[in-house]
Symmetry: C2
Subunit: 405 residues, 2 copies
């Protein structure tokens, strides 16, 4: 009755990621950049223009030909004719410019107005400038044809500034609809809790409030995807099958929680075997061992099905390693451990850690955790480390790779 033939973490990841490559790497939509914050770019985005688009003044002052000013100083001002906007600048001429304005044709530098005295139709220049001094040159920031955002990058406000500057109004982003099904007789929907009497009732019955659906809902929103909630569904194979089929019809990916073990009430695995292909069940990881993954093929459309644990931390780990990290791998860095961390050979451990600053150094501290249901442990974590199956643990002072939340 134990889970048998546990897959290695790497093998399980390969199976899952290959299916994602195959089935949902093509789901995108085109959206206005103003709505693109936190979405994932679906393509390499190439600059259609240089940035700046033309040589610009970086200062308020006078545009001129640099060599006309060579040798100018407080004691040796140089006099240039002031010409009107729209003219070509020739030797011994200058034109008034504000910060950000295009440099007039013929000019190749700007002298700051603080070093000038303007007369009626002339300007006294009291400082020499070299060619392109105080000029933002065309293409200085971005070259036309350059890739400015890579496929898979998360869109930040700084990307949005850059896209705007270049006149790019919409972009392709990943568009993944994810159906969420929590299963379990013991689950009560948060919306059905009206007051503390309902809580007392729930305790008496030994029920619990469904926290997995709200957690997955927000995890999916956080990824820039679109969640849709089904259930919670009681432990009844037919009901689970029907809800699965509905969710498969309406989404690109379906995630279930609960019923992943081999207990009397664990119907999810059975339900998926009956309506689709179960590709794996059980992985050598901790927490998260009873992870399952399958595919349902409907009208030539394959829908990946994630079968996650009912325990919130196991669920969060499975979601992180097998779903989120495919689309949004975490930033990682190497930091020293501030105490030993043991691990069991033959199994990959995903250890939640906090980041500690002390005496101008930064350390990784493994969180002390008991029980895989302890959601407060993952709440407190700043990140996690993956301890490989052939490592018995790390010692204080070892540098470990931390994936930052």
């Amino acid at each position: 009755m134990f889970l048998k033939n546990l897959l290695k973490y790497k093998d399980a990841k390969n199976i899952v990621f290959k299916k994602l490559d195959e089935l949902i790497h093509n789901n995108y939509k085109r959206i206005n950049i103003i709505d693109s914050w936190n979405k994932i770019s679906f393509e390499d985005i190439v600059a259609p223009e240089n940035l700046p688009m033309f040589d610009k003044s970086a200062m308020d002052g006078y545009a001129l030909i640099a060599k006309d000013t060579f040798g100018a100083s407080e004691n040796n001002p140089i006099i240039l004719n002031l010409v009107e906007e729209g003219n070509l600048i020739q030797n011994n001429e200058c034109m008034k410019v504000s910060t950000g304005m295009a440099i007039p044709n013929g000019a190749n530098a700007v002298v700051m107005k603080e070093y000038c005295i303007e007369g009626d139709s002339f300007v006294e220049v009291r400082k020499g400038v070299y060619p392109y001094e105080n000029v933002s040159k065309i293409g200085e920031d971005v070259n036309k044809g350059e890739i400015i955002i890579k496929k898979g990058e998360i869109i930040t406000p700084y990307h949005i500034a850059l896209l705007s500057s270049l006149g790019i109004k919409d972009i392709k982003v990943y568009d993944i609809n994810v159906g969420i099904i929590s299963t379990g007789d013991e689950l009560v929907d948060l919306n059905d809790i009206k007051d503390t009497k309902d809580i007392e009732e729930l305790k008496k019955k030994g029920n619990i409030i469904n926290s997995n659906t709200p957690m997955l809902y927000s995890l999916i929103k956080e990824m820039g995807f679109t969640p849709k909630v089904y259930g919670p569904v009681e432990d009844n194979k037919e009901k689970i099958k029907n809800t699965l089929l509905k969710a498969i019809m309406e989404n690109d990916v379906v995630i279930t929680t609960g019923g992943t073990s081999v207990g009397d009430r664990d119907y999810t695995i059975e339900a998926i075997k009956e309506i689709g292909d179960l590709l794996l069940h059980g992985v050598q990881i901790r927490p998260g061992k009873p992870f399952g993954f399958g595919v349902h093929n409907l009208n030539n459309r394959g829908v990946p099905i994630y079968i996650l644990s009912g325990y919130p931390v196991a669920l969060a780990v499975q979601f992180e390693l097998f779903f989120r990290s495919y689309f949004r791998p975490r930033k990682s860095l190497y930091l020293p451990l501030n105490r030993n961390i043991p691990s069991t050979l033959g199994r990959v451990d995903m250890a939640r850690v906090s980041i500690i600053n002390r005496d101008n150094k930064t350390y990784v501290e493994p969180l002390r955790i008991s029980g895989s249901g302890v959601i407060s442990s993952i709440k407190r974590a700043d990140g996690y480390i993956i301890i490989d199956e052939n490592i018995e643990g790390y010692e204080k002072g070892d540098y470990v790779k931390v994936y930052l939340f």
Copy 2:
């Protein structure tokens, strides 16, 4: 005509943060937790219940009194009477339980079903368990009365799971409406660019596309606040004043961009002086020197006004240091520099850096940047360091405090 009497960074920050303490620390709304991802908690949230709310089985198996099993083994199984749900467990009795179910009264441990053989009205137990083995104890995760989320914390999916589990349906979050006004004759709205002809036209006129408004819009959304766009407004003091007054009426904070220097077209500072109090203008930081800050008092309601640069990077830095960091300070850590970074005494430098992993160590690499308009530099950054005004720079190998984007 230079900016004079530049304030020290710390003094400027004090002025701004004190005003925020005074004026907008009370803006909150109550929202459903399902909408609370990425919002900022407005209060310490206390657990109204223990979690788990009762002793729960951590395994599928049989609940019993631990000492009845002492000495049990494969070769020496112990026989217990199997009783129905709803009964009190007494010595030599057990009850079938599934993972997550409440432990029946009288029982204090669970033996996994893999070590049992169930008969008609009895169970053979082939393994001893100690008290509370395979039991998730009441309050093991969270104690009633414990603070589970602190005021100022960003709400994550893991928080949402915890709040759900405890039956908390809504929470108070910061609710800040921010009006955005970009100023500048040269600005063209992105929505007015229909095709490449418009881009060619814009280049000919020396105009640029307004990227500051979209950047601020998404920076504010990213903070969990509500942006509202005004303008862009041309360089005309009356028009700027009128737009400011409208934005002040309709928002809790107003942010302007452009017109912060002392050039002929820099009307924003003048406009704010006429309709409110300018509290500071010019700070010893780089980039971002021409930062200004004021307050408008309308019907006993004070509205902070941020006067930011038109240059995107200066703007981004000012926004980060004087607005975002008040509500959402970045995670920071100490990492060694992989090359020298010079700085000028008497001025705080905000240097954009990237994080480099090499040979299982992590280093900070200052980005090479030319010109404060270079938005691609901040796009590439993984974080930043603040170089104090009394430091001439850092050397390769020095540990510096990095604030992570």
